[in-house]
Symmetry: C2
Subunit: 435 residues, 2 copies
């Protein structure tokens, strides 16, 4: 028979089982952390009508969409969890209760250029809180609190959550009459640590920004100090712009509530340069960096938006959310050898029957499972060495060998695969030992 070459598409992560176990563990920890904060699970379809999914999209996003025809229908694969959330909340608004807090952990699709570390199918792990009309600024302070707890749960302890407010940036540019140049200016000031102050001044000049405005921008962007000092410095800039002032007040409140929440100061900072996407966020924005691997980019980002679903409904739905791109993060952590090693394996025990003891071995395996212990059993005929290799391969920490003697005496040998230590125990003792 002619064979088809088995292969997986580039840009699609496919893991070997031991890595999959680690990936799933991270995914579960994120879900548990989100649930700890009261977020409800949602699972929207991966396929939507293009008309619905692309109500807002445009530019780069639209080009990347997996879009196709099925029968009469023009369909697209979801490219994030935010648009499906906007659709969901608009569609079921009468059946929900606001503020509506949901998490979504699932695959999204973007037909990006194939490139190392760039995925076309990837897990996004999102939370959002959606308000009905009014929406407290304290929600903006809960987000860094959740990021902090989630990454702590994931085993990280050297990271910084950077916080800013889009109103501050927009107010500044508005006061300088530079609102149309926002994108370019942001791109330039973002490089200040890399290229230095003078190079930034040169680039702003080339962009046609006048000296007085450039001075203001540089003064703004070089504000340093502790969080409170930065906020004081912002106020002292004396910028007479309502949007700017509102932004500074919101940022002040967020920082105040972060302290109330007992969040350690070394884990968050005000970073006046960060802006996230341009049209989307309207208030607080977040980025998160691993301090030792800042070059990985932000590993958890998000922000506040004024109106989630204006394309679908007249109801004003402000909200705030964050997202972890788990597939990319897992890849990046693998590359730098920072996937946390885990003792968690699927099976805790491998039962290895000798030739004539299959029936008894099956009973033992079942008893262990009834005792709450995940148990694998090696049912094929093979040399003992091969059976032990199987346990090694899947990192199963214990092996129980079942032969005639063990059956006769009801005393089993429990082998610890890591230490090599062997203990003679009854089945009940084994259950206690492993638990």
């Amino acid at each position: 028979m002619n064979k088809i070459e088995p292969r997986t598409l580039p840009g699609f992560m496919e893991l070997l089982p031991n890595d999959q176990v680690k990936f799933n563990l991270m995914k579960e920890k994120i879900a548990h952390s989100y649930e700890k904060f009261g977020f409800l699970p949602l699972d929207t379809p991966a396929i939507e009508l293009s008309e619905v999914l692309l109500a807002k999209a445009g530019g780069e996003t639209e080009k990347q969409i997996y879009r196709f025809q099925k029968g009469e229908a023009d369909l697209s694969l979801r490219f994030d969890h935010t648009v499906p959330l906007a659709k969901y909340v608009s569609l079921y608004q009468g059946e929900l209760s606001f503020p509506f807090k949901r998490y979504a952990i699932g695959k999204v699709y973007r037909g990006e250029k194939a490139q190392k570390g760039r995925y076309r199918e990837f897990y996004q792990c999102d939370i959002d809180v959606i308000g009905d009309g009014e929406f407290s600024i304290i929600n903006d302070a809960e987000m860094p609190n959740i990021i902090y707890n989630t990454f702590k749960d994931l085993g990280f302890d050297n990271f910084t959550i950077c916080i800013n407010n889009r109103k501050i940036l927009n107010g500044l540019f508005e006061s300088l009459g530079l609102i149309e140049k926002t994108t370019d200016i942001l791109r330039i000031i973002d490089k200040i640590e890399k290229i230095g102050e003078n190079a930034v001044i040169d680039e702003l000049k080339k962009l046609g920004v006048e000296k007085a405005a450039t001075d203001s921008i540089i003064k703004f962007v070089t504000i340093t100090g502790k969080t409170d000092e930065k906020i004081s410095a912002l106020k002292e800039l004396g910028i007479q712009n309502e949007l700017f002032k509102t932004g500074v007040n919101e940022l002040t409140d967020v920082v105040k509530y972060l302290k109330v929440l007992g969040m350690p100061e070394e884990y968050f900072t005000v970073d006046l340069k960060i802006a996230r996407g341009l049209d989307y966020y309207t208030g607080t924005v977040y980025e998160t960096f691993l301090n030792e691997y800042r070059n990985l980019g932000s590993i958890c980002s998000g922000g506040r938006y004024d109106n989630l679903a204006e394309y679908y409904t007249d109801k004003k739905l402000p909200g705030v959310g964050i997202s972890i791109g788990l597939t990319r993060l897992f890849y990046q952590l693998s590359e730098i050898n920072q996937i946390k090693e885990t003792k968690e394996t699927i099976s805790k025990v491998l039962v290895v029957p000798m030739d004539e003891s299959l029936g008894e071995a099956l009973k033992i395996a079942n008893k262990l499972r009834e005792g709450g212990i995940n148990t694998d059993i090696y049912l094929e005929e093979a040399k003992i060495k091969k059976k032990m290799k199987y346990a090694d391969k899947w990192k199963i920490p214990y092996v129980i060998i079942v032969g005639e003697e063990e059956i006769a005496t009801k005393i089993l040998t429990l082998k610890n695969m890591e230490t090599g230590e062997q203990k003679k125990l009854t089945i009940d003792e084994i259950i206690n030992e492993i638990k």
Copy 2:
């Protein structure tokens, strides 16, 4: 602004949060049950090259595929977990250890006709054990054991796992020279309980089956009794066909090991009529029915196949597996009001701050979370009634109201939302109470 009508495609399940919680609970229980038996998780892409995914497909399946072009690539969405498994095992065979046991729980896609209870996107929850060349029949006995334990874990206790062996059917038809009519004969005998023996005889006659053969088929299909009696009766039919004999021997072994495994006899039976798909399975086959709702059809099916991946590799990979179509099952159970009610909610407590006590309420919420209790907090200004309604809506079992008095005395009021009972407790007492 012109609004787009928010809507979800027909055939795509989208649940409200309380139902999603129940759905996820079932999904997690299935995963835990599969892990208890030592199955490793895999998560293959939802998109594959059409050439790879459709190596074997044909007929109905191919028509239902979501297939589309992206750039130069001819792509398809996976329609089951078996083909991706065949690809995976062929591709990574050198990095795996056999027998290879994996579970896959994820969405698959079939563009079926829109119809009540038929889904185009649905969760399949699969396990398979793949052998390398040789493959013990005991694996076939483990499957009903796993089905039994999984449905018990899901809260069911009135179901029957029907077991048969394709070799018995194929051997019978081979011995009668009727192998080409297999499909039609199976369709006819499947109806015997509904239409009666005489109608079956008539239909077989119309099909051109001769009287002697019809007699044999009727004798075969009307075998009754306990499992052991059925197997004895099969042997006594005196059918001189090697395939038939092998099938009977395999079935005998499966039943023997099911007894060794301690599986209660009321939960399984030999049903000589079941065949599952026609080309796919080659030995043991399974279907599972809820005794009180047999009309739902099989809720967990599967079987043994000789060669999983012959389209991709020369390596002979026999295997056995089962699958639960969770989305359809959840729909069916909802329709007959048989979704198990659960006390499990995401949040165990809602913290409700009074006007001036937001900061303190945030601290209390964080303390509860640190104590391992999933906690929601109501941050918006609203009347107390609205806040209580929120707790009701998401079935949050406890509410803590935080006002000035509570802050001053450090004694909080814990309200049980089900009984209405209120207790005055410290935060630590509350954590103990809820745990």
